[in-house]
Assembly symmetry: C2
């Protein structure tokens, strides 16, 4: 256990020169509403707008020089594609991104801004994997999974480590559950750097695969995932699930209405732009008020990449 | 001059227990675009969402106990009505707010949330002043002007003082120009606490009364003011104009398109919610890039109170 703690400390040391130390914000009004002290770790202010920059940076930095020279590859249509592209660009490493041909143009443009080399393919998982395999064979690039990779998991955990450096007495850290990378890293950080700090997940009822996985003890999938929290539709993986099973205290499920109402509170009261997934932990805290009453509660705001093109200015 | 410096220090000491020390954010992308170092003092995170909380708090704290017991009064339909109400509530002082009967319900509701006692009247300046006079006679409340009051001016200056404490080597502080309270206070702070730090105003071309006032040497008015920066439509006053005339280096005028584009950059890239007036200084810096190139530039983000009801979640 001591070894794992040392390991996480090294991860933080490794990534910190390459990422932002994001601020921790609070809101008296939200504290009043929740009857507790909430501390928001604002990864929406992270480079490229999401915590995923941490895991991507750590995974690339862990590669040998030879592997770095051949580049990295992932398949993603979301934040991880941008994170891997930007981290790779900063570290002077080529990044190959496999994206479904149905991905919105704005997301492709963001990857291109960060010099990611996009290959489009049909949107099935089989097509994505085959395309990625083919590029790997051609280039020798290393595949990096967005959430099911131990170096990615440990990198994501550095957000909670920083939060605990600023607020060592947290009773809980609550974070969203998507593919499981963030919550697995957060749970390890809470275990090794908190003082009896528990890690709790927030998950949409509409995509409650992780909640069901904790119950059944095996990785469950979503038949459908009709949630506004579009970053949380993915399922857990074999690398992060054992960590989650051992170290996550509980997963709280919230409805779409509860997510939307928490999202509005964050935008209107905290004056920050966050993506819907980031509102899920606040929704969970407000739903189970008694549990969190008069506690010190950390919340990971996962990111702020939302399409603002519909705004009227 | 030394006396005035001491005076401002006392103002900061006086208001600090009652306000937030707001964070200073930066954005590598905006720094790259502007080819300079920009430091954003985020008063959108201030209590009630705007810098006006500072001036209102200082003005109330300066009153005698007897005057406090009789309350304060202002006429405003914007942020100052909310600021005076909240500051008065926190200090256990009654607040009377004269609002035009045309003011949006959402603004009236905000004032009521902070326990301000609203009197509605027709929206002409004459009606507002008469109504305020009548309430003053009835209650003995002290009238506090939103921007043309020396204690309000000095209170607003504390934002720039804090910014200079965090970044003592600023070459410029740029802030929006509306009624003149913020820029007068900012200019005094830059003069007394900066190292040769210049204060520059940003103003919409569509409401360029302050720019014209600096040219003519007398207070000019706007015939019309068709600007998205709705907090900047007001004109200077006899208390703040002499301070501005002596201490503001320059006012840079920007078009509506320039304001909108800066506003979008702040929302999209900095992930913070700011009101259109807050984008005017960034628009000014991007417009006159050569002037600010390779400098240390502070920007006052004045507030974040925008109506989000049109958002689709």
């Amino acid at each position: 256990m001591k070894k794992e703690k040392l390991h996480l400390e090294k991860v933080l040391e490794r990534v910190q020169p390459h990422i932002h130390r994001t601020p921790v914000l609070s809101s008296s009004l939200l504290n009043e509403m929740a009857e507790t002290d909430l501390w928001f770790k604002c990864e929406n202010f992270q480079k490229m707008g999401a915590f995923k920059m941490r895991g991507a940076t750590n995974a690339i930095l862990k590669l040998s020089e030879e592997k770095k020279s051949k580049g990295v590859i992932t398949h993603s249509s979301g934040n991880f594609a941008q994170a891997l592209s930007l981290a790779a660009k900063s570290l002077n490493v080529p990044a190959y991104i496999v994206m479904p041909d149905t991905a919105p143009e704005v997301k492709k443009a963001a990857v291109r801004t960060y010099s990611g080399k996009i290959t489009e393919c049909p949107s099935t998982i089989k097509d994505r994997e085959e395309t990625a395999n083919q590029i790997q064979e051609e280039t020798g690039a290393t595949f990096i999974h967005p959430s099911n990779d131990i170096d990615v998991i440990l990198g994501q955990g550095t957000a909670a480590m920083e939060l605990l450096q600023d607020h060592p007495d947290l009773d809980y850290i609550v974070c969203p559950v998507g593919g499981g990378g963030l919550i697995a890293g957060t749970a390890l950080a809470a275990k090794f750097f908190g003082k009896n700090c528990k890690c709790i997940g927030g998950e949409p009822i509409e995509a409650d695969d992780a909640w069901r996985s904790l119950k059944s003890g095996k990785i469950e999938t979503n038949d459908s995932a009709e949630t506004i929290a579009d970053g949380l539709k993915t399922q857990l993986g074999d690398q992060n699930f054992p960590i989650i099973l051992e170290n996550v205290d509980e997963i709280i499920r919230v409805s779409e209405e509860e997510i939307k109402s928490a999202l509005r509170l964050i935008w209107e009261r905290m004056k920050i732009i966050v993506e819907p997934s980031s509102a899920v932990p606040l929704a969970a805290v407000l739903k189970e008020k008694d549990k969190f009453k008069n506690k010190q509660v950390g919340i990971i705001i996962s990111g702020g990449n939302v399409d603002l093109s519909s705004l009227s200015f």
